[in-house]
Amino acid sequence: MKLLLQNAHIEGIRFYDAYRKNGGYQSVEKAFKMSTDAIVEEVKKSGLRGRGGAGFPTGMKWSFLAKPEGVPRHLVCNADESEPGTFKDRYLMEFLPHLLIEGLIVSSYALGSNATYIYIRGEYAWITDILEHAIAEAKQNGWLGKNILGSGFDCEIYVHRGAGAYICGEETALIESLEGKRGNPRLKPPFPAIQGVWMRPTVVNNVETLAAIVPIINMGGEEYAKIGVGRSTGTKLLSVCGNVNKPGVYEIDMTISVEEFIYSDKYCGGIPNGKRLKACIPGGSSVPIVPANLLFKTAKGETRMMNYESLSDGGFATGTMMGSGGFIVLDEDQCVVRHTMTLARFYNHESCGQCSPCREGTGWMYKILKNIENGQGKLSDIDLLWDIQRRIEGNTICPLGDAAAWPVAAAIRHFRDEFEWHVLNPEESQRRNYGIAHYADPLPMVGVV
């Protein structure tokens, strides 16, 4: 089922005329007849959870927004999308810019934001142009500016380009950066809902979250909540990359199984060249990697589904997370050690450097992993890595510390023998990969803790 991308194939949908002709901006017309509280209520009823990674219920976040008399409030759209493996927001903004603008207008109205910002990843330069064009079109047609549709509500949307730092996707670093400062995450509390941009109450939401407001208003929160299962309501965009036949962006309702998602021709279309599946990172580089034998079935033996609850079933011992929906597939030829090293390098490079465990620990982990990958590791290095990640996790200012620790922890937890093989066979490991070992689907579960 598609709610966001169902019109993506229509010729010219990127521009106002085609978008409007196909039902665009109806949610704004509908929303302006509702009270702002009623809109927040619909979003609550919809069960929509933040699509930026943490999965926090959007309606609840909106209801926390402080509303002191005489102080402006702001909505900020987080379009920084820099997590390795995640590129769903890019697709949405590139092909359906008006869907995001529409969602932003409704959300701005609901939250009382007269100046709304899109903080976009600096590398998405061409999308900035697309968005600015769409904003200009919306304004020409009376959907932005003063007294929109005679409702008395004024709204402007500004696009602000980041300068290439992953950390500026973290909401408080984003706020600092938007204010023109160095993008260091703030200490919480106070939360942005109380003191955000320029110390004013602020809501920060992901692109996909805000786009989902459009179908929620159009069909009503209750109808939206009927799609999906349990607390995973609505549809979710997934960006698929790695060893699959059909990488790309897919919209799913969260009722299909992981196995179906990878192997069905409707989605990823299976693994190319007849290779076997080794492991998967289903939610962007920060979430734990899971070996194939834990991917399709949970530890309880149930079929693992593509939704928040099922993916995280079993906690970190045997599960993972939905995250931001960056679905990375690794086949039997991939080396987990090398893969983990690459990620460690990324987090080392992207740490803002404010707090000691993350600043120093990420670099340390990367260096150790580089040694192991290059055949210069020691067996004790594996325990040392475990110790370092353990002392980073939970002890930092922002979740980047956790995001750096989890991939290392999960790789060691599930693929320890591959690390050991690297250490014990330094020369062979330079020539070939460890291969599939016992991680593959048809083989029994081994080493599950």
Binding site: A165, I167, R182, L187, N348, H349, E350, S351, C352, G353, Q354, C355, S356, P357, R359, E360, G361, T362, G363, W364, K367, L384, D387, I388, R390, R391, G394, N395, T396, I397
Partner: protein, 364 residues
Amino acid sequence: MSEVQNFKVTIDNITVEVAPGTTILNAARAIGGEVAPPAMCYYSKLKDSGGKCRTCLVEVSKGSEKDPRPMPKLVASCRTTVMDGMEVKNITSEKVLDARKGIVEMLLINHPLDCPVCDQAGECDLQNLSYEHGSEKTRYEFKRRTFEKEDIGPYIQLHMTRCIMCFRCVYTADQLTDKREHGILERGDHAQISTLLGKSLDHDFIGNVIDVCPVGALTDKTFRFKNRVWFAKPVDAHRDCPTCKGKVRLWMRGEEVFRVTARKDQWGEVEDFICNDCRFHKKETKDWVIEGPSVVDRRSVIAQGHYQGKVGMVKEQPRLIDQVIGKAPKLLMDIHSISDVNRPDVDLSQIEGPAHSDDFEHNK
């Protein structure tokens, strides 16, 4: 009229009453002694400081009377305010001690450990911290990060290699001076303190960045290598200064003033910021009215039992073992006991006048 109701908070089994809005760290400082978590970045005189180094992490085992749930993660005590009925574990928590050990290790992996040639040795917060909480051996086997030394103005040298990124100097420059030209370049483990385009810092109060720096990254060029701090005798002095309060600490040897710093309280924090004129230009005894020997606090290695009696006073510390059920605290290691130059059996307070290496020779 109703008075503001104080909050009761229990830290390491000791209960104290503090005003609402007090941080856990300051509540612990009100109790004093080892219950106060070490703070490498927080500085009560600098707005927005703290939260970064993570050495002050504590465990909140009970959130408050109203909501007794424990907090899921360790929290930075310097930036977490107390609630009524809160229960906190610092040195009675294995989790805290383990995390702190990890943090100290992280702070040290890229530190040059060049204490023997560092001017800060003997009064370095990192040195103290690692004696107290660190392990003897590092597990880090890689090349340490290094930077070139940089002169930021005629009086201050920046030795970035030693920096622990506490941001104190940034806040000091920001809050004490009107220009914002001292800040941070780059990010992550390649971040560095710098001045705008390598400009020299000139402002009447900029010298204070030296005093707030917990390590030897910012040092006084007019003092560098002239003396070891533990050979110099600290005395409190004042002068009528048109710019600052003129209340300083002189570091003397004989009649010579080697260095002028601000006075620091028992938590190692500056009491009153002083101006550059007092710090860098008034280096003669005749410039000052001497009040008497300084009270040196427990935090400094130079303090350990060596300034008793007539030369100086060490503040009496409550005996923690009597108070805390659980882990007995490790005492600060004494720099005198690990240095060849110094002999632990010499009580500095027994020496008339300032100490010289000669005073230690006859004990060998």
